[in-house]
Symmetry: C2
Amino acid sequence: MKDFTEWFERVLTEAELVDTRYPVKGMYVWLPYGMKLRSLVLRLLRELLDQTGHQEVLFPLLIPEDQLGKEAEHIRGFENQVFWVTRGGGADLDVKLALRPTSETAMYPMFSLWVRSHTDLPLKVYQVVSVFRCETKMTKPLIRVREVTTFKEAHTVHATAEEAQKQVREAVEIYKRFFDALGIPYFITRRPPWDTFAGAEYSIAFDTLSPEGKSLQIGTVHYLGQKFSKVFGIEYLDRDGSHKFAYQTCYGISERVIASLIFTHGDELGPCFPPSVAPIQVVIIPIPFEGRDPLPFSREVEERLRKAGLRVELDAGEQRPGEKYYKWDRKGVPLRIEIGPREMESRRVTLVARDNREKIEASLEELESRTREILDRIEERLKQRARERMRERVVEARSLEDLTGEGEIFRLFWCGKKECAERLETQTGMSVLGQEVEGVEGNCLVCGEEGKSSLLAKSY
Amino acid sequence: MKDFTEWFERVLTEAELVDTRYPVKGMYVWLPYGMKLRSLVLRLLRELLDQTGHQEVLFPLLIPEDQLGKEAEHIRGFENQVFWVTRGGGADLDVKLALRPTSETAMYPMFSLWVRSHTDLPLKVYQVVSVFRCETKMTKPLIRVREVTTFKEAHTVHATAEEAQKQVREAVEIYKRFFDALGIPYFITRRPPWDTFAGAEYSIAFDTLSPEGKSLQIGTVHYLGQKFSKVFGIEYLDRDGSHKFAYQTCYGISERVIASLIFTHGDELGPCFPPSVAPIQVVIIPIPFEGRDPLPFSREVEERLRKAGLRVELDAGEQRPGEKYYKWDRKGVPLRIEIGPREMESRRVTLVARDNREKIEASLEELESRTREILDRIEERLKQRARERMRERVVEARSLEDLTGEGEIFRLFWCGKKECAERLETQTGMSVLGQEVEGVEGNCLVCGEEGKSSLLAKSY
């Protein structure tokens, strides 16, 4: 992966995940194999949200200009990125309609109708939709796009600040479980005030590190306080008979999680998907030899694995076995089963793990159990390798001098002040991501005052 | 259902399916309960498509003006309905971008890259997306909308006209199975040339009849021939070494299927969802009496049904049982279980069917089997009732005089000629839907020439 951009776009194409040739900048086509991966990842995310009392909804794409502009900080943060619908049915529209860049201003006018009493709270909803941002920087599939096709945004409403802040912690826990399940390592920081979501009181973000050593924001959790509830009139009747403005949070995940999944568990050849979300968990390659037909036995193996609930594919195509190995390796299938004359004879199979090329033999009797066991082992290995690699990449900087050395991401103590962040950023050309939410205390490397462990990295 | 519009909007609100108060005309919010129904219906549709070799994809929402305009008939059919994005990131766009009204012109430029050889064919893909049409007529939730939020569009490419026409027949079969599974009765007609999809050679449509006696188009299947393939350059290398333009089809379903599901199986009170897609199949209502607590036994029943794989809800709220009955009836839950002192004593339950109010007792031992059996019976009853009602509403007209009588939908022989259709339409104020695909032959009521059984109805 010398050139990450080149590698990444090649992998998307060769693995047939996304087609990058759609004729609008920053917009891409999800191919069938990519869609299956996306569905499996979304299923995991939906399960985590449903288990924690979130309900799925679907709001319209278009937001009237006056609604989008209601919260002053919010519109300031987004106005330069909005796509506008100005014409419809052959005429100019009376009110311009924004393609949602995010849905606060689509949802909150409705929340003000839904929330009446303290018994309506908490309200916890989410949707999975496309959002649009007219990115002016260089676009990159799944990473910097103009149509975010896989935006899971959750929005919650609570009676008190305490309950809303507790929700922020729940959201952080949900995202930790989500990224842990995918084996994507992350840092959790509280973003500095100048990098807070437009309209939020504070923002917590999950970042991972790309192969080219840049931090990539893969999840955010925002505490909105009463900023939006006051503007949109989200009020409830409390037990004591008084009307109070509610407290809100929102949190989001995008298709960057798919990008991270690809590069975290990838090698020169392409991705290696964790079995839990791999669109195909096992590929069976029959190896014909001296006119003996391995297909019947291969079909038997396929049928058994399918019945065992595994996502399995039998490649009965015309290509030579070597070509097939290469093809499925590039598609990131974590486990291959080879069936040649020796296997047919002994009614055994040879299993080959995509990640470390380990070869294991199994008898037909133990086929399902061994396959599951090896898939579990691959899953665990991928996660552990990703964690370790990330750990190795973090440089703990104990002085400003340490920042002059090589390093993709630095952990250091920082006080939270803007002038100290600027000093760090100027010296390194990197950005302060923020103080770690689960960090430890220590003295700021710049001013020596009380601080907290923080992260510094190049970012997208 | 005297006033269908009033009834329909009330039901959507009371059943908490859709919120109709979003501040943009023709755009609505799917509420959690509606989303669950929508997901179950989509799951059924996806299964039918996956089983028949269709693969899910996802294309961008925005289509450049030059692509949308490439096929002349197509753009003529849609240009008055298109919403245009003209600004982005604070500047006018160089190329206007259409919100897709349908995705032929988004997909087919990519198909021309994907299809190279006869071995790439057939190509069968679908997506479930929002499409946008600037309807100028009166909008109506789920029926006439500006954001069609649940548009399943399938697009296929074939080597020959025969294969494409065979695909048309497959699509018709898939939709028949889909609507049959939902118990929605339909008529299948070949639309007359003046009502053919813009850019198609011919169109086949599924219509159902609304309670106010209007035909509602709920599914369409189009044979495109080579019209688009020639414009977008979808060519393949055939076995004989020659390059040939491909043949195409497309077919779609929208959220009108949800509307039909609601009104087909509805009564004054609201919908009654077929158990196969009901978001909640069974609601349990505990009935407290003289201080005895029915909750523990109710929880036991709930737990058992949930374990049996049923979608069950225990309403342990504060309302009186009668209020709860009313509430869940309006939400269309097909089966209610009442648990009062008598049931607690005898460890039995009373099951009440939503459709015919039938009451059945069951012991705890037979709880799961009886519940399933009654749900199956409700499902069958709903379907049968819908079929019979529809049959009763069709008036077989054997002469032009028969058309002067009362009737919501007439079946008659028509030759296919425009002047005869105009005569029928002028006389009745209705529209000719088309000749029945599975119809019988007979002489045209107007001109006496050879014709086929056809349908005439008021339409939306």
